[in-house]
Symmetry: C2
Subunit: 543 residues, 2 copies
């Protein structure tokens, strides 16, 4: 421990210790870049001076309405300027931001309001019906509602609630902010997608939200004044914390309410977008866009993609179109991206397109702001062999890992057992330490003592000409312990029988990996489009 | 304060809290970029895997020699690979790095060894005579010496001490590092230049050393894989902490033992240097280089310059030569650069060369990693008017501010009075908040109640054809309190009298600003080339 012989007078003082928080980025940007464009949302264009003043209004108006430090303010908003302002204004009032997925069902939204004890809701007019129904379904006391209309998008104010702009009028553009006294204070509460069960409330601290904004520019090859397009929803890991990062780099945040190829190409061509993030499906949308939806541009766009590995064909196509794609991987628990498939110029630039796409399909290595991310045996916490074959669970340690699950100390302790966060994702590691995901831990099927990756079996079934979507889960079996069982959505007008599918799989897979039963049905999905295998497992047990 | 209603189970754990330290950058780089070139020093070229292993050897060898956490290890080294390794290896043993200026005099080096209680010295063969004399002059017990020869540079080992490579042989390339348990632990002890008196021992913590490495890439427009040339000495604010930053960005550190135009141009052309820092005098050297010393290159080199404002003519010339210069400003107390003259593309790109140079002469605004830097009245701590005329003292608050002065709690408390670090530099602020230095606080002359900037008077005298160098200081005066008094070095062979100089100044300055006395003499300078006005003031009192 590097304590010197005499540390007298070397303590923390207000001059040399300031709690880390992304709020400081906006405070600085208002001083350093007051006239730069901070936020663009259609006709709404605000400079950093204006953005800062509006945030101060929001924070002080919330306080005047009785929101106290530590209270939860929920948002039910698409990616609009109001949502960006809430990212700063809610914590600047000392409150905790809870951005809720606008595609959730009523029951889950009600569950979140109750669990979070929401004090106030900022709700887009389009999603007021969802919010109102959730309030009816709530058990606890109903929060206040502030309505955020978007007339340009066809959602004018209903007149039933105080509007967002009226709320801002209640505030003071020069009000001082409530800065954290301890960087461990909470800044956000984000519920997981619920792919593996009930969504869990993940708590972020100011420290982590600050540190990810300092590591991201390095991995994203970002220099001063980027133009960033918000495709990743702000309710998803707070947009991977990019909204908080923008003021640090003097960047412009371009809001995107509806994610369409036209909207994206227009933003690139008209606003000069340099950076964007999105699921592989968004890349597909760009590759397959109709000619009339495309726009020409002559700069390079840096893209982060995550959520699922991008298909090789998509990667090969999009890289010739002016985009440079980096796969990242992370979870709500890691504030978004925690690993990145860092491109090793020296080693890989001479590879052919297929080999390059093969590497880009990996989830990669820890971001500069994480301490250690690797794959371990979850029982022994031993490093797995880095041979591209052995599997284990992805484990993370670092400052951009959640504080824990809200009101769930048992789940938190379990997730942090052994000094690492257990991601629940099963992966191999290549000899260069790059991680590649094989499956979710809960989705692995163990048959006769052999592990079967559900992802591998699904990959084979997806090649069947009649299959549109599929999911493979474990079904209990007296003899083998578990056996693979497939659920399939067929393409419109296509036909296939259970024996067809099994025969198709058997030709391409080892016997123990071949599904023993196939059911044709619509697959249950989360609001982020992930298949809920826990539901299918329940069904498989009864079928 | 953003503490939620229920914070049960949301505490720090090893999974979500890791003390910030630049050591983590090298640990990660060895995993992520093992085969990239980390350090180049003539024939010495090491990858990140090798760099990491050598650092582990150094750390474990130091521990084996009895160096304990918190002990001080001093270096008397130019910018060589051993010095870079010491930046990681010394803290990785838990010890504190004290990099000493190789141009200091024996008495000051002895003073530092005593004050720091140095336990071990890494000394370059060229500077062994200085070190040996300093050991003789010391009061306390003599530290161990490890000799770092540089045969290629003409300094082969003397045979009198264990050499650096022999020391590494004693170590273990796989030894675990002593990571900080608290990010407030000390990582370095750096003595100030001694421009205003005895050098003060400035203590850095791991937290600050980490955070400056995360803010710098943003302000320096640095993307992955930069090639950085070490011109700023590693003993000067640890090379503005760039040595610690390089592994975070997968960069290559190119060492430069002798700072000459040839060496710099060669490094740019042969190694592809993309970033370098240096005093304005280095820029001059490049501009004025002889044709045969120049090399062609076709990329842009990003340059940080600090220490003094670069001359407008130098800036205009160098910007057409492939360099992009940003002025930064800072002190030993702020780990190097704390402000930067951030270029506002939108507002300034249409200005003519003179106007651009005028702006580049400003010291600018806070780096992204600092909280608040501004100019205040040091008595009232009130913000000065931002009118380009009113002066005050530059004040800083943020995480990249020293822990304090070693063994000097009084000076520390004084420096941090009112919650800001008092820099001792007097400046104006322009309407856009950009700071421009007028003078050091201690060098301001107050005559008849009027402030006189010594820098302004010197600027006028420097235009006199016979004047090579000059300094203007206050002399006590019965009637006016103080009057300006000039010390002048004449150009070789040139002649001028006291009345000549006074008459020259009187034509160009207000009467009260005109020096009342002129002395012709060699000026006392610090080892970093700054004029020691405190000595001149003492002389002025007696003359
Ligand atoms: N690049 C990627 N490649 C493959 N899978 C990814 C990638 N990025 C994220 N994922 C998957 O998404 C998960 C994180 O998703 P998120 O935190 O939104 O909720 P969830 O884990 O789906 O929901 P829940 O935790 O409630 O079951 C990861 O654990 C991983 O399984
Ligand atoms: N860009 C710059 N323009 C003008 N002056 C600068 C600039 N950068 C640094 N300086 C000067 O250098 C000083 C910091 O130098 P350093 O910490 O090396 O020691 P010092 O202040 O000269 O010595 P001491 O504190 O012992 O008197 C600043 O306080 C400022 O006066
Ligand atoms: Mg999850
Ligand atoms: Mg000083």
């Amino acid at each position: 421990m590097g304590w010197m012989k005499d540390e007298t007078g070397l303590d923390k003082t207000p001059a040399n210790f300031v709690p880390l928080t992304p709020l400081s980025h906006l405070a600085r940007a208002a001083r350093v870049f007051p006239r730069r464009t901070a936020v663009v949302d259609g006709a709404h264009r605000k400079t950093y001076a204006e953005y800062h003043a509006r945030v101060s209004r929001l924070a002080s108006a919330l306080a005047a309405r009785g929101i106290k430090p530590g209270d939860v303010v929920s948002t039910v908003l698409p990616n609009t300027y109001a949502h960006a302002e809430a990212h700063f204004g809610v914590p600047a009032s000392g409150a905790v931001l809870n951005a809720i997925n606008i595609r959730l069902d009523v029951a889950t939204v009600a569950y979140i309001f109750d669990h979070a004890e929401t004090a106030l809701i900022l709700a887009d007019t389009q999603f007021l019906p969802l919010v109102e129904k959730a309030l009816e379904a709530m058990e606890g006391p109903a929060p206040q509602i502030i309505e955020v209309p978007d007339a340009d998008a066809g959602h004018p104010a209903t007149g039933r609630y105080t509007t967002y702009e009226a709320l801002l009028e209640e505030g003071d553009p020069e009000a001082p902010w409530q800065m954290p006294e301890d960087e461990w204070e909470s800044i956000a509460l984000n519920y997981t997608s619920g792919t593996t069960g009930r969504p869990k409330g993940v708590v972020y601290h100011h420290r982590g939200a600050y540190l990810i904004t300092m590591g991201t520019p390095i991995s994203w090859r970002m220099t001063l004044y980027p133009i960033y397009l918000t495709i990743v929803p702000m309710f998803h890991c707070n947009n991977w914390c990019h909204t908080w990062m923008m003021p640090a780099v003097g960047g412009t945040l371009v809001c995107c309410r509806e994610i369409t190829a036209t909207a994206i190409y227009d933003a690139i061509a008209d606003e000069g977008v340099t950076h964007m993030g999105g699921a592989p499906i968004v890349l597909n949308m760009l590759v397959n866009a109709k000619d009339e939806d495309r726009r020409a541009f002559d700069h390079r766009v840096e893209v982060f993609t995550a959520g699922a590995p991008p298909a090789a064909a998509t990667l090969a196509a999009i890289e010739t179109m002016g985009f440079h794609v980096t796969q990242v991987y992370g979870l709500t628990e890691s504030y978004g991206h925690a690993t990145e498939c860092v491109w090793q110029d020296d080693d890989w630039s001479d590879l052919d397109a297929a080999a390059r796409a093969g590497i880009k399909a990996r989830q990669g290595v820890a971001l500069p702001n994480m301490d250690h991310i690797t794959v371990m045996d979850p029982e022994t916490m031993a490093q797995i062999p880095m041979d591209g074959t052995a599997t284990g669970e992805i484990m993370m340690r670092g400052n951009v890992t959640m504080k824990g699950y809200y009101k769930n100390p048992e789940a938190t302790a379990e997730a942090f057992a052994g000094g690492y966060f257990h991601t629940g994702d099963i992966a191999v590691q290549h000899p260069d330490s790059y991680i590649q995901i094989a499956d979710r831990a809960k989705d692995i099927i163990i048959s006769g003592g052999e592990n079967i990756s559900s992802v591998e079996v699904e990959g084979v079934l997806m090649h069947h000409p009649a299959v549109s979507l599929c999911a493979v889960v474990a079904r209990p079996d007296e003899k083998w312990g578990e056996v693979p069982c497939a659920f399939v959505e067929l393409k419109e007008g296509a036909q296939a029988t259970e024996p067809d599918i099994i025969a198709f799989a058997r030709e391409r897979l080892a016997g123990f990996k071949t599904p023993k039963a196939v059911f044709f049905t619509e697959l249950p999905k989360t609001s982020t489009g992930k298949i809920q295998k826990f539901e299918l497992r329940a069904r498989a047990r009864t079928l």
